[in-house]
């Protein structure tokens, strides 16, 4: 039996009468770059929140590294090796860039000195070394996204869940982020991407799942997905966002 790194098994999430996610199932293998796409309101972020412990699932299980995690707290999920970024960035505004990343590093060390070393490493990896002492709240959106990436990388995750990490970035910034992600995969991490930017998704993902109105619409390679008529009509006649 194949051991998936992450198994989403018939997960549903209801908020009162509102069905946000309905019976979604898919599996992510180690070292894959996996895409989760769909129109606005399809339930992608809600699914992320269920996976990472911010919402309990109404039904269904999330199994990560052979452990059932849907009843765990978010910090417990992180400790197991799954880290996430946020659609609306969450910098720790009053802290400096370095301190932000150190908070991430502290999840794998207890000493301030080691945390600083790990943090500086990650800042270098994403190219933020020049901003070390700047307050996180003062950065531009593109840099905030890089900071968030550095911060989660400092937790040395086995799996990274990225929620629209390219949102609000121009083409150059997007390419830089994508390259960083490719490097992360080379270092052994698995990545799940929520994205709107179809070009970004198809250029980097090994496999894609499409959600629409909370349900799984399609699953396959980037080629299969871009040629899938259901997917195309779900996006209303185009796979591309301006």
């Amino acid at each position: 039996m194949i051991q998936h790194l992450l198994l989403i098994s018939h997960v549903s999430k209801h908020f009162g009468g509102n069905v946000a996610v309905s019976d979604v199932s898919f599996a992510v293998e180690e070292k894959q770059i996996f895409g989760l796409i769909g129109p606005n309101g399809a339930g992608k972020t809600t699914l992320f929140n269920c996976i990472t412990g911010f919402f309990p699932t109404t039904s269904g299980d999330v199994i990560f590294d052979n452990k059932k995690i849907n009843t765990l707290r978010p910090d417990e999920v992180c400790k197991l090796g799954m880290a996430r970024t946020w659609q609306r960035v969450k910098p720790l505004g009053s802290l400096t860039v370095l301190e932000n990343v150190m908070v991430g590093a502290f999840s794998i060390t207890n000493t301030t000195r080691e945390a600083e070393i790990i943090a500086r490493e990650q800042l270098q990896m994403v190219g933020l070394t020049d901003y070390t002492t700047k307050s996180a709240g003062s950065l531009s959106i593109g840099l905030k996204k890089k900071l968030e990436l550095a911060r989660v990388l400092a937790t040395r995750p086995k799996m990274l869940l990225l929620d629209e990490i390219c949102g609000g970035l121009n083409h150059t910034e997007t390419d830089i982020i994508l390259n960083i992600i490719r490097n992360i995969r080379i270092k052994g991490a698995t990545i799940v991407f929520i994205e709107h930017d179809m070009k970004a998704v198809t250029s980097i993902c090994d496999r894609i799942v499409v959600l629409n109105s909370g349900e799984k619409l399609a699953e396959g390679t980037p080629e299969e997905i871009t040629n899938n008529s259901d997917v195309i009509s779900a996006y209303l006649g185009g796979g591309h966002h301006a």
């Binding site: 990472t52 412990g53 911010f54 707290r73 978010p74 910090d75 417990e76 992180c78 400790k79 880290a83 996430r84 946020w86 969450k90 910098p91 720790l92 505004g93 009053s94 802290l95 301190e99 150190m102 908070v103 991430g104 502290f106 999840s107 207890n110 000493t111 301030t112 945390a115 307050s135 911060r151 989660v152 937790t155």
Partner: protein, 331 residues
């Protein structure tokens, strides 16, 4: 530069009683300043760093005061320090109960819950017999290692010591993993959780440290004044005063609470002792026996809470980061 300033302040603080020791009134004021500075600094660990505002910190102050004095009244030969330790235990229990109920919730319930707990403690003490009820507790005699506890100087140094300990803990936390985590919780709880921070655990940790320090101060107060009742050590006004002192000085900065205490305590004293009223009379502006004179004499003493209210409003509207916040970014 910083080290020199720090040494000067420390030296002044230690040497002060030599200069003003003959004047019990002034020493008394300084003891109040030190106590309020320490109380606000202890509160700041939870409020300024972790962003959890407790509006019921008087509960821990009272826990220390009442536990210490009750034990000493019952068993006169007990070492006061042992009683203080018991006070810490009681305060910690209250803290753990509060924290375990509230810190697992996501909404903003901590403030309200802290008031509820403080009121439960206050009303319970008021209604129970062994706590002295409305009459309070009067401590007859107390001794510690031969130190004359009837004079004020020992308490000056006692309060100073607790203040130094509190500030040291604050400083240590700032650069430790716990400190980073508390600040992360203050900035964004969801982000903090997603980075592996057990929110309830760290909030409880901060609360316990804060409550323990506050309880020690309550015990010291009890030994100092020798008389306590619920309005002196368990009142909501005390809780508010502690917060206000931190806010005016600068929440989340290390020296903010100290600055706040240096400003507010003398101001409150001036109002309470009718200094202002006396000044007006002496200046001949107001006749002591006129209607206004009598009104001022009776009421200006109460006005200090009114002034607190006005200062709070002005501070929140125009100086939310406090005095030190003007100079430094919140760290």
């Amino acid at each position: 530069m910083k080290k020199i300033a720090l040494s000067v302040i420390a030296a002044t603080a230690v040497a002060l009683p030599i200069f003003i020791g003959e004047n019990p009134y002034l020493i008394g004021i300084m003891i109040s300043v030190l106590m309020m500075a320490a109380l606000s600094s202890a509160w700041n660990i939870l409020g300024g760093y972790a962003g959890q505002y407790s509006f019921g910190h008087a509960a821990y102050f009272g826990a220390g005061a009442y536990t210490t004095l009750i034990l000493l009244t019952l068993y006169n030969s007990l070492n006061p320090l042992v009683c203080m330790a018991m006070g810490i235990v009681v305060a910690s229990i209250i803290a753990l109960i509060t924290g375990s109920i509230v810190f697992r919730l996501r909404g903003h319930y901590f403030g309200l819950a802290s008031i509820a707990v403080a009121e439960i403690v206050r009303l319970s003490v008021l209604n129970l017999e062994f706590t002295g009820g409305a009459q309070g507790i009067l401590l007859s005699d107390v001794s510690l290692w031969g130190i004359d506890l009837n004079s004020k100087n020992p308490f000056y140094y006692g309060m100073l010591l607790v203040l130094v300990v509190t500030l040291s803990i604050s400083q240590y936390l700032r650069t430790s993993k716990t400190g980073y985590y508390l600040q992360a919780i203050r900035e964004d709880q969801d982000a903090a959780a997603s980075l592996g921070i057990n929110l309830a655990f760290y909030k409880n940790k901060a609360l316990l440290i804060s409550a323990a320090l506050t309880s020690i101060l309550g015990s010291l107060y009890g030994l100092y004044i020798r008389f306590i009742d619920t309005s002196a050590v368990l009142d909501l006004r005390l809780s508010i005063e502690i917060i206000l002192t931190a806010i005016i000085g600068g929440v989340g900065t290390m020296w903010g609470p100290v600055v706040g205490a240096l400003l507010l305590v003398p101001l409150a004293e001036m109002l309470r002792s009718n200094l202002l009223g006396d000044l007006l009379v002496k200046a001949g502006l107001v006749s002591e026996t006129s209607g206004i004179g009598v009104f001022l004499k009776e009421n200006l003493a109460h006005a200090h809470v009114l002034v607190y209210g006005i200062i709070t409003v002005l501070c929140i509207l125009y100086l939310p980061k406090g005095i030190l916040g003007l100079f430094r970014r919140v760290k």
